[in-house]
């Protein structure tokens, strides 16, 4: 704590010290190394500005904006700051600390419209002068941003489901009304600062209470779907600089996926009935208690391990005698238009077309 009288004394002493420091700095060949200064009065303005953090950019920018570097004696800047702080302390705050004085002076600046703009930041004159003084004291001659913190991997949210996770070369996945390929992810409590990154590139992302939607668009989408390979999908929280791996999205080479099986096999694998073949955009089709959508397929050729695939994406499938059922957690997020349902027989590569689900507007 520093009272009014102590501040005056400390300020007077620090003025002398600071003017020496300025001379030292100005005469130094080094542009950005901190200068060793004599000890300062505890609680003084000197101590405050010498300990100011993260001013290597803003302090120099403020100094250049204020202009005292070129033509104003450091003592005058110091004296001006002291006056401001003393004035803002007022008679009733005799026991306030220097940080209280700084706080009050800054508030008063804003109230009086004494603002300085640095890179768009609306700063108070006092804080800018403090930062400028600190930059001089700490020996920063050129503006340089502190090293930014690095991204790190961790868990942002508990992901319940996401998709689609693959497509066939040349095929737009989960095509939306405007032509882009939609990606969805279900999780609760997703921070609003989260974006989805696909192959290391940030994609437009909409965050909702229990899910997010994103996707690929235009040239990048075509670049991806035309190039077989595996792309890492991540969530990135811009605010906390945290990354979370969601999974991999695979673009399968068109030759790898037999879209048709030989006629003799097809003849032996008949789809008797299936459904539903229609849905409405924004709504789960054949809605289950869990909120998921569901398909059913009757066929005698399904074997243990058979799976239904919607737009190339494997669905959790259950087989009972000749009835296959499968849930589609993202059914309500499918885009308007056709969506292909296929059956993978057993665990083999063969795919049989079941039919087309049409999502209506």
């Amino acid at each position: 704590m520093l009272n009014r009288r102590q501040l005056i004394i400390a300020a007077a002493r620090s003025s002398v010290l600071l003017s020496s420091a300025f001379v030292l700095t100005a005469c130094s060949d080094s542009d950005s190394t901190a200068v060793s200064l004599p000890p300062t009065e505890p609680g003084s303005l000197d101590e405050y500005t010498r300990q100011m953090q993260a001013i290597s950019y803003i302090g120099v920018a403020c100094r250049e904006n204020i202009g005292f570097h070129e033509d104003q004696p450091i003592e005058a800047i110091k004296a001006d700051l002291e006056q401001r702080l003393l004035a803002d302390l007022g008679e009733s705050t005799a026991n306030d600390s220097i940080s209280d004085a700084v706080d009050q002076a800054i508030r008063n600046d804003f109230s009086a419209g004494r603002l300085i703009e640095i890179d768009g930041w609306q700063l108070s004159e006092t804080e800018c002068r403090l930062a400028a003084l600190a930059a001089v004291q700490q020996g920063f001659e050129t503006a340089q941003a502190p090293a930014p913190p690095k991204d790190r991997y961790g868990k942002i949210v508990e992901i319940n489901a996401w998709g689609p996770q693959s497509t066939i070369q040349g095929q737009i996945f989960n095509e939306q009304p405007d032509g882009h390929g939609g990606i969805w992810l279900q999780a609760t409590g997703i921070p609003a600062s989260v974006v989805l990154q696909f192959g290391g590139k940030t994609q437009g992302t909409q965050v909702y209470a229990d899910h997010l939607t994103s996707g690929l668009r235009d040239e990048y989408m075509h670049e991806v779907i035309d190039t077989p390979g595996v792309y890492q999908v991540e969530l990135y929280d811009k605010a906390s600089l945290m990354r979370q791996v969601v999974g991999e999205f695979t673009v399968k080479a068109s030759g790898d996926q037999p879209r048709k099986i030989p006629d003799e096999q097809l003849a032996s694998c008949k789809i008797d009935t299936w459904g539903p073949d229609k849905g409405r955009v924004g709504e789960a089709f054949n809605r289950q208690p869990s909120g998921a959508s569901a398909f059913w397929v009757r066929t005698k050729c399904a074997a243990e391990g058979s799976q239904l695939l919607l737009d190339g994406e494997a669905l959790k499938t259950t087989l009972r005698k000749d009835l296959l059922t499968a849930t589609a957690p993202n059914g309500h997020q499918l885009g308007v238009g056709p969506h292909e349902l296929e059956l993978r027989i057993g665990s083999g590569p063969q795919l049989v077309k079941v039919g087309t689900l049409f999502i209506e507007p």
């Binding site: 100011m52 220097i98 706080d103 008063n108 768009g120 804080e127 503006a143 930014p148 609003a192 605010a239």
Partner: protein, 483 residues
């Protein structure tokens, strides 16, 4: 009941009230009239679940002013644009009913208190958890708020969110089962006949050529913020126009809320001025707004501000703001937030729709939209942002960074909220409006307008809840015996 206009339908129908347009305004009006025992024919141009063959075509037009997605912003089928709305809800603030100093035109001839009981009902129609948009609810989680409430200039109000209610689906069965509502889709109104100073019948046609004449005691247009004016202008231009000389404000004062991202805010960590769900609560969006006294004192438009957490800035990192005294109580831990504004436009006659030379498949001239925003609105937005920057600094709550000024390309690339408002504005004087305080078209004793086209001032709040409230109010008027 609900039925399609085709060749099996009678050629004429008679009812108490003929409602043209089955969006939120029309559906709420029909169902509320039913409670009063008043019958209605509810006409919808599109089909039940799609716009049909020609529905989309009817919405095509020409844009000559600021860019505007004329077709994409509307849906022409049962339930109207509620079939793809985002569910944002908020009643207008009381100040939004008043006239701003120097505003070129008067504001509402009614006030927030007049509409308050109807806003309560509207909140039920749009399935909100509560009609409370003020701060007491938000303050259950004070750490998530920029605590302007300690200062005299800004405060937090909040948006709530409808599921969103798709009126054509949620209320379809009620219309279907109603004995007093005759809902007819595939029915596009193209003309009206007049009898003295009143409408006698409307003629609706289907894309297939089927015709239906509806005669009624009262007629209500509820076709949307653009279509209401388009049809009225078409009717006024038609031979034997139905309501004398149209008001000079018909089609004028087209407004939409517009957005702007001015930069960033450094403030306490953990603020939630974006859409989120409070624990065990409904989704809310606490937005920063000016206090009414301050807004009046500074003559600011109604603007709200949202803030979404964003990446820290290397040049002025969070550590800077932890220097003692630099940023008040927010010093301990802070984040940078990206700011987004929703801005109220000023009503003015140069922003307007007119009729073009081309016609749609039903012979109704296509719309020409000339959306304009006043220079003063951009300047007022800048003043709002300046006041905000000063206030966050003076209250020790944070610092603002401006990365954009509202000029040049940012004015040319405006993004609207797709809220069409103002083209049949309400006024207590025929000299300044198209409809009177009862929503009746001046010069025609039995023709009314419902929907956001009657808004003379729009605030920053999304219009759906208020237009639903106005439909409830109109139903009361039509039941009052004075209509």
């Amino acid at each position: 009941m609900l039925r399609k206009l085709d060749n099996t339908l009678p050629k004429t129908l008679k009812t108490d009230v003929c409602i043209v347009g089955a969006g939120p305004a029309g559906i709420v009006l029909a169902l509320t009239l039913e409670k009063h025992g008043i019958s209605s024919v509810l006409l919808e141009g599109g089909l039940l679940d799609s716009s049909g063959k020609t529905g989309r075509d009817a919405y095509k037009g020409e844009v000559v002013g600021l860019h505007y997605p004329l077709s994409a912003s509307r849906l022409r089928w049962f339930g109207g644009t509620s079939n793809h709305w985002g569910g944002w809800c908020k009643a207008l603030d009381p100040i939004d009913y008043t006239r701003r100093p120097n505003a070129p035109l008067p504001s509402w001839p009614i006030n927030a208190e007049d509409l308050a009981p109807y806003q309560e009902k509207a909140a039920e129609w749009v399935e909100l958890a509560s009609n409370n948009f003020e701060n007491d609810f938000i303050m259950r989680d004070p750490a998530s708020q920029l605590l302007f409430d300690t200062g005299p200039q800004f405060k937090t109000r909040m948006f709530r969110f409808s599921p969103p209610t798709m009126f054509g689906k949620v209320y379809r069965s009620e219309v279907q089962e109603s004995e007093l509502i005759d809902g007819i889709y595939n029915a596009n109104v193209v003309s009206m006949t007049s009898a003295g100073d009143a409408v006698g019948t409307v003629l609706a046609v289907s894309p297939e050529g089927d015709q239906l004449n509806v005669s009624a005691d009262r007629f209500v247009l509820s076709m949307g913020g653009i279509e209401n004016a388009r049809l009225l202008m078409h009717l006024a231009d038609s031979e034997g126009g139905v309501f004398g000389s149209p008001s000079e404000y018909l089609g004028a004062c087209f407004m939409d809320h517009f957005g702007f991202s001015p930069g960033y805010l450094a403030a306490s960590e953990g603020l939630k001025h974006f859409r989120h769900q409070q624990q065990e609560g409904a989704p809310i969006l606490p937005a920063i707004t000016a206090r009414e006294d301050f807004q009046m004192e500074k003559n600011l438009p109604s603007i709200c501000l949202m803030a979404t957490p964003d990446s820290p800035m290397a040049e002025l990192p969070p550590a800077y703001f932890t220097n003692p005294g630099i940023m008040g109580e927010a010093s301990a831990s802070n984040s940078r937030y990206r700011l987004q504004l929703m801005i109220e436009p000023t009503a003015h006659t140069a922003s307007r729709i007119t009729l073009g030379a081309n016609k749609d498949a039903f012979g109704v001239p296509r719309v020409v939209l000339d959306w304009r925003v006043l220079e003063q609105d951009y300047l007022d937005t800048e003043r709002f942002l300046h006041e905000l920057a000063v206030s966050v600094g003076a209250t020790g709550l944070g610092r603002m960074q401006r990365t954009r000024r509202f000029e040049g390309q940012y004015r040319q690339r405006l993004t609207g909220g797709m809220h069409h408002m103002g083209t049949t504005r309400m006024s207590d004087s025929p000299n300044f409006g198209v409809v009177d305080p009862d929503c009746r078209v001046n010069g025609c004793r039995n023709l009314y307008v419902a929907g956001s086209s009657i808004f003379p001032r729009v605030g920053y709040s999304n219009p759906t809840q208020t237009l639903v409230a106005l439909s409830e109010r109109l139903a009361d008027h039509l039941n009052s015996g004075t209509a």
